[in-house]
């Protein structure tokens, strides 16, 4: 039985209105399933669903929640949507989607959710600190929060995360408890030539590791001491595509894992449970790509959304060259990173080449519904996650490679990376 405090009982009973009552009802039943003993305060929430996920019924559910008086009581941000809110007409987004997006936007505002439309919400102030309890309903950011920041989030869906945002609490179970955060398998990546790894190689590594790890909590040893944050994100955002782990201990990087013994909260295994070979890395590129057709309609970056560093890199690689007339190049990011690009002159340079910065969306899912209607069939990406979702949910044919290979593809119009034809 969950031991509710007086205020929480009042919420459940309906004293604060039917919306709050519904939120507490969700959390109570959910907590019961996992034998939670109590509710604990959350400091940060991030919700994910966009129109392809919510559908009309989901929008109506949110509208009912807002009509019933529910408002978030915790700092809550929102993942990307379907299109750039300020450029719907320029991007030829069908009215059908514009009407629905407007309803989503209005209901999110009514609920008090900050309309960031970004998956790098931690770059705009939604930054929990070490040990904070949070609810981030986006598998990539959730594993990032647990593994890099040392905040504590379970793999919650939107309904649970929203309910936590409204009530300010969440049932204490799973990764909220120290005893459940110990490493379970030892992963040694030392056999790989990591000093010559590209960020894309790290994504290929994450792809293979996710399959081997499944839901277990891994501890990584032999990552390079100078590994950069993009490579770390490359591993973490991909590992949750093929696996379902919520926490990765990177020894020397993860706050809870200064040593291997700390990661395992005791003696670690004597030999590694999991290793990855270069052959497996090479095989991952082939597995992640689905296309056999060389001509590429769209090169799309930004899963997770591009940082200013990545956009600088892409602009430098493009170096003023014009795109192929039959290939588009989209850089997906947040509104505030686009503002930086304008200030720095990057946007003008990109536009002169024919490339576009598109805000409020990510490269994995949002825009693919209408891009498909616009004739986009083959895409090139530097994100394994974007490739997986674009292909499996939206039927796009994909090529996966490095940032440079993708940029060269946009210039020549045909895939310039590794060829995986059988």
């Amino acid at each position: 039985m969950i031991n509710l405090e007086t205020e929480q009982k009042e919420m459940l009973r309906g004293s604060m209105g039917p919306g709050v009552s519904k939120a507490m009802e969700i959390l109570y039943a959910y907590g019961q399933c996992y034998d939670a003993r109590q509710m604990i305060p959350v400091t940060s929430v991030h919700v994910a669903g966009n129109f392809p996920v919510l559908m009309d019924e989901g929008i109506e559910w949110l509208e009912k929640l807002a009509e019933d008086g529910a408002r978030v009581s915790v700092f809550t941000t929102k993942n990307p949507e379907m299109f750039d809110l300020e450029r719907a007409e320029a991007l030829n987004v069908p009215t059908f989607y514009q009407v629905r997006q407007k309803r989503i936007h209005e209901v999110l505002k009514k609920l008090g959710i900050i309309p960031t439309y970004s998956c790098h919400h931690y770059l705009v102030g939604n930054v929990p600190k070490f040990g904070d309890h949070i609810a981030w309903a986006s598998s990539g950011s959730q594993v990032y929060a647990n593994s890099v920041i040392g905040a504590r989030s379970n793999r919650d869906g939107d309904h649970v995360a929203l309910a936590a945002a409204i009530t300010g609490v969440i049932p204490e179970w799973g990764l909220h408890l120290t005893k459940n955060r110990k490493a379970e398998v030892l992963v040694d990546v030392g056999r790989l030539d990591l000093k010559n790894f590209s960020t894309a190689d790290y994504k290929a590594l994450g792809w293979q590791l996710g399959k081997k790890i499944g839901m277990k909590i891994p501890a990584f040893v032999n990552l390079p001491a100078n590994i950069d944050i993009e490579a770390i994100k490359g591993i973490l955002y991909t590992i949750t595509v093929t696996g379902a782990t919520g926490l990765v201990h990177m020894v020397g990087i993860t706050p809870e894992a200064p040593t291997l013994e700390a990661a395992f909260a005791g003696p670690p295994p004597k030999t590694p449970d999991i290793t990855v070979s270069q052959n497996e890395i090479d095989a991952a590129y082939k597995e992640i790509s689905s296309s056999s057709e060389k001509k590429v309609d769209l090169v799309i970056f930004g899963c997770p959304q591009c940082t200013i560093q990545e956009i600088k890199e892409i602009t430098a690689m493009l170096d003023g060259r014009k795109l192929n007339s039959e290939t588009r190049l989209w850089i997906c990011t947040s509104r505030w990173v686009k503002t930086l690009c304008e200030r720095m002159g990057l946007l003008d340079k990109l536009n002169a080449s024919g490339a576009d910065i598109v805000c409020d969306i990510g490269a994995a899912d949002g825009p693919h519904l209408y891009l498909r209607e616009q004739g986009v069939r083959v895409i090139a990406v530097n994100s394994a996650k974007a490739s997986y979702y674009a292909h499996n949910l939206f039927g796009m044919e994909t090529w996966f490679g490095t940032t440079r290979q993708c940029v060269e593809t946009a210039v020549s119009g045909k895939w310039e990376g590794k060829n995986h034809e059988n």
């Binding site: 969700i26 039943a29 959910y30 019961q32 989901g58 869906g157 939107d158 309904h159 949910l393």
Partner: protein
């Protein structure tokens, strides 16, 4: 025959059982427009769970599954009750937001006791699953 189980939600449902020995994902795994299981290679592939009492070991897949299930429910294509061996968040939340009866941790394995086509009564108020009529009898 009666089986005791733990309730996730309240309510009572009576209907035809549909049994899967494999876990089910609502995102990508079930079509909200028909209630048909569409995961390639799934043992219920091509079969509809709409209006039936769905019995399976545990949920799997994306946490967006609760939105998919909600849409299926509003379109009249969701199961009318759920029995799971092991509870998992996506399925539990799906039952909670649609207010359909759901139980878990049954004392006897429903995958062994109940066959597709059996007519059963799922009483989540009291945590009891009852087989009323066996199929083909």
């Amino acid at each position: 025959m009666k089986i005791k189980a733990k309730p996730v939600t309240k309510g009572v449902a009576e209907g035809e059982a549909i049994v899967s020995n494999m876990p089910i994902s609502f995102t990508g795994g079930m079509d909200p427009d028909t209630g048909i299981i569409r995961e390639p290679g799934h043992e219920l592939e091509g079969k509809s769970v709409a209006g039936k009492i769905l019995i399976f070991p545990v949920g799997k897949g994306s946490t967006t599954g609760s939105w998919q299930f909600y849409a299926a429910f509003k379109r009249g294509n969701a199961p009318k009750g759920i029995i799971n061996n092991t509870v998992e968040g996506v399925v539990a939340v799906s039952a909670i937001i649609t207010e359909i009866p759901m139980v878990y941790a049954p004392e006897n394995d429903p995958l062994a006791c109940i066959k597709t086509g059996d007519f059963i009564r799922l009483d989540a108020d009291n945590g009891i699953v009852e087989i009323i009529t066996k199929a083909n009898q």
